[in-house]
């Protein structure tokens, strides 16, 4: 299990997509960050949501669907090691990737650009975990349904843009039609971004939105497990 983790970590660092997931949100942060006022509470939550969205919708499903497509899971099932171990290792590493991406954004945003960092840690951590779980669940469902790695990649990109729009990551929510903004708030990414905003504003995220993310995480994961094929 240790060796599997080390090798998978090495493979992740050789994956250009992993670098992009780190750099794209950072790029957005830096480009827009040059014009923010000190103590800004909007930009960092957006960048964090984009980072987690990219890992969950793009990296996770593509990697997992590719592993199935290439018969790697099947090959593993002929060894004493269970192929489920590989999926667990992958989930953990993708979580680490999301953490690194967010850590990088917080460091650059907070220290260099002077954006606001929330003082209360616990609501932030809780929001991050639930939001990431919801996005990863969607990623797992894509991996379960996509016939191969390329299709998973396509589905991920295809979902990323409408989900980003609904989450108010492309256009601010107050400029969106009311009804769309309301719906968007209850999408996985929208609930995540809104909860992050609440945390940044100094309050506690709404229990309703935390519940929405938890519900997505559980229900979509169950669906993914239901549809997942090993070969």
């Amino acid at each position: 299990m240790t060796k599997l983790t080390i090798v998978e970590l090495k493979l992740l660092t050789r994956e250009p997509g992993a670098i992009f997931s780190l750099l794209i949100p950072l790029f957005i942060l830096v480009v827009f960050g040059s014009s923010i006022e000190p103590g800004d509470t909007v930009l960092l939550p957006m960048a964090l949501a984009i980072a987690v969205g990219l890992v969950g919708l793009y990296m996770l499903p593509t990697t997992m669907a590719t592993y199935r497509e290439r018969g790697i899971l099947r090959r593993l099932s002929t060894t004493p090691v269970r192929p489920a171990n590989l999926l667990v290792v992958q989930l953990l590493l993708q979580l680490v990737l999301a953490l690194v991406a967010c850590g990088l954004l917080l460091a650059v945003g907070g220290a260099v650009l002077g954006a606001h960092l929330p003082t209360r840690v616990l609501p932030g951590v809780l929001t991050f975990l639930l939001g990431t779980a919801a996005m990863f669940a969607v990623g797992l469902l894509i991996a379960a349904l996509a016939p191969n790695g390329r299709a998973a990649n396509g589905f991920g990109v295809l979902l990323f843009f409408p989900m980003s729009y609904l989450a108010g990551l492309i256009q601010p929510t107050d400029q969106m039609p009311d009804i769309v903004a309301r719906i968007g708030e209850y999408t996985p990414l929208g609930a995540f971004r809104q909860s992050l905003r609440d945390v940044w504003a100094g309050g506690a995220p709404s229990p309703l939105l935390l519940g929405v993310m938890a519900a997505y995480a559980v229900i979509v994961s169950i669906a993914a497990a239901r549809f997942f094929r090993w070969e």
């Binding site: 060796k3 599997l4 090798v7 090495k10 493979l11 050789r14 994956e15 590719t66 592993y67 290439r70 018969g71 790697i72 099947r74 090959r75 099932s77 002929t78 060894t79 004493p80 090691v81």
Partner: protein, 303 residues
């Protein structure tokens, strides 16, 4: 001692019968061939034996273990090379061997395998950069890295050039020499003829014959021909000899058709009457002929 014992194995998918009572046994230390066109149940049989699939009926014992109930213990002792599997593009050769070695309780030293399989100078190459032959050698090395007692190799030389196939065959013989029992799934006649001690011929989800390659060829009762040119002496009557079914003569060229070992009888008869012949040619019967005789169809037309 039998290392694999399969009795009356049955498997259905919806209303399609894939295995219709397969029985076979593999002896320790042999290269056992599983031959047949695609869709005749050979891969399904092997997957049931490896514990990848659960049969609907019949019994399987591999090294005394039940692949379904004792799967984990069994997988410690077998090595598998699957058809159509790949590794991640970016994994290095040594990393793959090191990783797979870590899955087993008593693995082989993977550095030795690198040498043995001619991959030492590729140890830092990424999987995606390897040639077809190098990938195939790596897959075989991965099947052996757990120090297995039985190795399953599925369509091992598909896609390799003739030179690489020959090299692979020599290496497989070395695997047997090291005491590992090899189960070879193949649809190449020449490969089976060259490597296998015994062969099970599959057709329609059954084993239609099980013998040595030579035994399979000898067992067929198809007509074949011998030809020769008369040099000196008068032609003798050959039509009545045992096994001979026809004689045609065009000038000095003679073609004799027959079954079984008629060629020996004919040459003895010619010698007894001091008939001298040249250009004597006897059509060699091959495993292809045996296959046609066993299944009633040509092998090449089936895949």
């Amino acid at each position: 001692m039998a290392v694999i014992e399969v009795t009356d194995l049955r498997k259905r998918y919806a209303d399609l019968t894939v295995l219709d009572g397969v029985s076979l046994s593999v002896e320790e230390g042999e290269i056992f061939g599983i031959l047949g066109p695609n869709g005749t149940g050979k891969t399904t049989t092997v997957e049931c034996v490896e514990g990848l699939r659960r049969p609907d009926g019949g019994s399987i014992k591999v090294l005394g273990l039940d692949p379904v109930k004792d799967g984990r213990r069994l997988r410690e002792q077998i090595g598998v090379q699957l058809q159509h599997t790949q590794l991640p593009e970016n994994i290095k050769v040594w990393e793959a061997l090191d990783l797979y070695a870590s899955f087993y309780a008593n693995p082989r030293a993977w550095r030795e395998l690198l040498e043995e399989w001619g991959l030492a100078d590729k140890r830092n190459a990424r999987f995606g950069k390897l040639s077809g032959g190098q990938k195939q050698r790596l897959f075989i090395a991965l099947a052996l890295v757990g120090n297995p007692r039985v190795a399953f190799l599925d369509e091992l030389t598909t896609g390799l050039d003739p030179q690489a196939r020959r090299t692979t065959w020599e290496l497989i013989k070395r695997v047997r020499a090291s005491g590992v029992t090899v189960v070879l799934v193949s649809h190449f006649m020449d490969e089976v003829e060259e490597l296998c001690d015994r062969v099970a011929v599959f057709d329609h989800g059954r084993v239609v014959a099980l013998d040595t390659p030579a035994g399979l060829v000898d067992g067929i009762d198809a007509e074949h021909q011998m030809r020769f040119t008369l040099m000196a002496g008068d032609m003798v009557e050959l039509g009545g000899l045992p096994g001979v079914t026809g004689v045609t003569r065009t000038g000095n060229r003679v073609v004799v058709t027959g079954r079984g070992d008629f060629a020996t009888v004919v040459t003895a008869e010619l010698a007894r009457h001091h008939v001298l012949v040249s250009d004597l040619r006897i059509d060699k019967r091959t495993l292809d002929d045996a296959f046609v005789a066993l299944t009633g169809r040509s092998f090449d037309s089936t895949h």
